[in-house]
């Protein structure tokens, strides 16, 4: 045993004398990471991505990215003799003849769905907790880019097997490109190597799917993690947790063990899904044929919102110089993604503008304490889910046995009516929760003990919070709307920045005007003083209830 340890020591010493890593390691190996379930969403994305890479490599061994037309002679009898591309035939081969091929295909596809879902969930977590605030704006941008790249990776992969669904998806992409004025037809020609569908598209998407996009994702994930490492992870506030420290477990050995274990769990869950639930059975869809668009054609979930926008957009087309401008395609397929992505990418700066807050933040916000941001987030989720439902309007019409036109019209109206409603409702709920927190801090916890006074008045006893519990509700900062100041100074000289400041103050009022502030020290003391006689009368009861806790 000791010889092994000595041997290992010698190897480590050899390496250390040459690259002198021990100093760097000593500093970094004890790096502290905070613990919360929501901090693991990004890890789900990372681990599913690793699994996608591994299963993807397996698939490349057999997949043929070629649109050469052949007659199928493989193992799947119901397709024997059917004309198809080599890409589709090799996908069938992977599914039916390669040992473990179908499992790997399903691991790859389920992994992709989970990868994108995990990225989205991670992003929502970052948004709702304000983890994108200074100094993490760059990582937010990288994250948005990663999400777009993830969608691109998913879509190019969806298009490779050259089955009926993938071909139809590409047809929609072509339609979107053609709708772009002036350059649309050229773009489409470049991509497809001439008229759609041509013979090139699968061979062109293949290097994008297996080389360029994953390469970019790996590079950006690396940057994402390095920045995270350098800036340190955010944490929730609480006793001993401040803007100047990170409270948690050291990277080695605790965090490594946990993350390592979680990696196996993530991969295990995805493989379990893949082994038990069939996904994208291309042999049932059939080979791609441009003349065929089947019912029930949908994209994978992450493109569903765009398909949904296309489906509910009313027809609208006009001519400029005898050239058609097809707004019914241009708006949902080209303008809408831009309208969603631009504010999403710029949100940290937009919020900074509104709040005027340029300080660094390392402690997260509880979503209820920033009601407007939380409201905006929920409104966006509602908007997205509505478009998502629209993307499966025929599916839901069939399942629910209602006319598809009802769904379309409900969404056309709902897409404008429901997000503002969701915003208002969420903001109200947040304010209500804040008000409850404030009441708790000032008057304590409800005990459930109702007293009748000699006058016949009923009142409930409140037990004061412990100091730790009260701190949990009050560690966040007070957020007051900014004040534009006077328009003119004491000498009557107008402030040149007044106009800009007033706009900023308006935005700030929008964000923080309604926020229920946590009580001040004086307010808490006053409240405790007012409730004093109650506390004296019920003093012993308080002790009992707090003792039971």
């Amino acid at each position: 045993m000791s010889t092994i340890v000595n041997g290992a020591g010698k190897v480590v010493d050899f390496v250390d004398q040459r690259i002198t890593a021990s100093n760097w390691l000593k500093r970094n190996i004890r790096k502290v990471f905070p613990d919360h379930w929501s901090f693991l969403l990004g890890e789900i994305a990372l681990f599913s991505f690793i699994l996608i890479l591994l299963s993807g490599v397996f698939l490349t061994f057999w997949f043929k990215p070629s649109m050469a037309h052949i007659a199928y002679e493989g193992a799947y009898v119901p397709m024997r003799g059917v004309g198809m591309s080599e890409a589709y035939a090799s996908t069938l081969e992977l599914s039916f003849e390669v040992r473990g091929g179908l499992l790997m295909r399903q691991v790859h596809h389920w992994g992709a769905l989970v990868f994108l879902a995990a990225m989205s969930a991670h992003m929502l977590r970052i948004f709702f907790t304000g983890a994108f605030r200074k100094p993490r704006e760059i990582n937010w941008l990288i994250g948005v880019t990663l999400l777009v790249l993830g969608v691109a990776a998913g879509f190019t992969g969806y298009s490779l097997p050259d089955d009926l669904l993938s071909g139809t998806g590409l047809r929609i992409i072509e339609g979107g490109m053609l709708a772009i004025p002036i350059v649309g037809t050229y773009l489409s020609s470049f991509l497809f190597g001439g008229e759609y569908p041509g013979d090139d598209i699968v061979a062109r998407l293949y290097p994008l799917h297996i080389l360029l996009i994953p390469g970019l994702i790996i590079a950006l994930v690396t940057a994402h993690l390095m920045i995270l490492w350098y800036q340190k992870h955010t944490h929730w506030g609480g006793p001993g947790k401040t803007n100047h420290n990170v409270a948690g477990a050291p990277f080695f050995p605790i965090y490594v063990a946990k993350a390592g274990g979680f990696q196996f769990i993530v991969m295990g869950v995805i493989v379990l899904l893949a082994a038990t639930i069939q996904i994208n059975p291309v042999w049932l869809w059939g080979p791609y044929d441009p003349s065929v668009v089947s019912a029930g054609t949908q994209p994978d979930w992450y493109v569903g919102f765009l398909d949904g926008a296309l489906r509910v957009m009313p027809p609208w087309e006009f001519y400029i110089f005898d050239r058609p401008i097809t707004m019914s395609v241009l708006i949902p397929a080209v303008i809408l993604p831009g309208l969603i992505l631009t504010p999403l990418a710029l949100y940290p700066w937009l919020e900074q503008k509104a709040t005027g807050d340029t300080r660094e933040h390392h402690v997260l916000d509880r979503p209820r304490n920033v009601p407007v941001r939380t409201g905006i987030g929920v409104a966006f989720i509602v908007f997205y889910i509505l478009l998502w439902i629209a993307g499966g309007n025929d599916f839901f019409a069939t399942i629910l046995e209602i006319p598809v036109n009802w769904i379309t019209w409900s969404i056309r109206i709902g897409i404008f009516a429901l997000p503002p409603l969701a915003f208002w409702l969420t903001k109200r709920i947040c304010l209500g929760l804040e008000r409850r927190d404030r009441d708790k801090v000032m008057h304590g916890r409800e005990t459930g003990i109702v007293m009748v006074s000699p006058d016949g008045e009923f009142s409930e006893l409140h037990a004061p919070l412990s100091q730790a519990d009260a701190y949990q509700l009050t560690w966040h900062e007070r957020q007051l709307p900014s004040d534009p100041g006077p328009a003119t100074d004491a000498n009557g000289i107008p402030n040149p920045n007044y106009r800009a400041k007033r706009v900023q103050a308006k935005l700030s009022r929008f964000y923080f005007g309604d926020v229920v502030q946590k009580p001040t020290r004086e307010e808490v003391e006053a409240a405790h003083h007012n409730g004093h006689h109650d506390a004296v009368e019920a003093g012993h009861r308080d002790e009992i209830t707090s003792g039971q806790q």
Binding site: L113, I277, A295
Partner: protein, 283 residues
């Protein structure tokens, strides 16, 4: 069992019975019953088979059909199948002259007719008539004017069909509404293409031939009887095919898969993440 003693001839009890009981009060009745069974059995065995007598039988069948039609169908389709249109132009029941036996066999045989209630589209339900009555109704409607007939058994024998060709034909002609494996789909304003799972080959054939409701007609010139048989063979093959990848989740494609990825995939993983952080030394 010591019921019949050894050495005693077995048939003798009948002879004894006949001789001792021949004056029994019920003997004459027994003889009469025996004679009736003999004659009836002989007639059934010796009478010419039904196939040679179709024409003769169908006149009574048509009459029977006419009576059934007058009771069950005429309120909308008119006493002679001429159809009824209200004064405001609303079609109460379309004319059935020339729709043929195939149409009746499909509509009544799948329970779509008689309608339960006016709606965007007639629903498939348990048929209200038995097969003899449906045949009678079909014979009556077919007697109004020539139309597509009930398909021959040879085109319904799916074991002779070419599944691969059927699949191609199905994807080209049918999948636009019925989905790639006949799962069905939504059409406009509450109409829908029904799922084709569990539908009898004869009814699928008749639907192609007659184009019920929103469905187009595929005549024998558009899709030959052999091709129709191939399509039915494909549908049967796909229906019976197991799902090699695990649970089929309705073979409904990406919407169902996305729901599973979110609800089960991410749901389970978030549960796991929560579990992992509960096993934590409080820092």
């Amino acid at each position: 069992m010591p019921r019949s003693l050894p050495g005693r001839p077995r048939g003798s009890w009948i002879g004894r019975l006949l001789s001792t009981r021949r004056r029994h009060p019920l003997a004459a009745i027994a003889v009469l019953v025996a004679l009736m069974f003999t004659c009836g059995g002989a007639y059934a065995a010796l009478a010419p088979s039904t196939s040679q007598n179709v024409q003769a039988a169908s006149s009574t069948q048509i009459d029977e059909g006419r009576q059934l039609f007058a009771v069950g169908c005429a309120s909308c389709h008119g006493l002679n199948g001429e159809g009824q249109i209200n004064d405001d132009g609303e079609v109460l029941g379309p004319s059935l002259i020339g729709v043929g036996a195939a149409s009746v066999d499909f509509q009544v045989g799948t329970g779509r007719m008689p309608l339960a209630a006016p709606s965007a589209q007639a629903e498939r339900k348990p048929p209200a008539y038995d097969q003899d009555q449906i045949d009678a109704l079909a014979a009556f409607v077919a007697s109004l004017a020539p139309g597509p007939d009930i398909p021959d058994a040879e085109y319904l024998d799916t074991s002779a069909g070419d599944v691969a060709r059927g699949g191609e034909l199905f994807r080209t002609n049918c999948s636009q509404c019925h989905n790639t494996t006949g799962q069905g789909g939504a059409l406009t304003n509450g109409q829908f293409a029904p799922a084709l799972t569990g539908v009898e080959p004869r009814h699928i054939y008749e639907a192609m031939l007659t184009g019920p409701q929103a469905m187009p007609v595929f005549t024998d010139e558009t899709i030959t009887p052999e091709e129709k048989r191939d399509i039915i063979a494909f549908l049967e093959s796909v229906q019976d095919e197991p799902d090699p990848g695990g649970l089929g989740i309705g073979r409904a494609g990406p919407v169902a898969e996305g729901l599973w990825a979110w609800l089960v995939g991410i749901g389970l993983l978030i549960g796991m993440a929560t579990w992992i952080v509960t096993r934590s030394s409080k820092a």
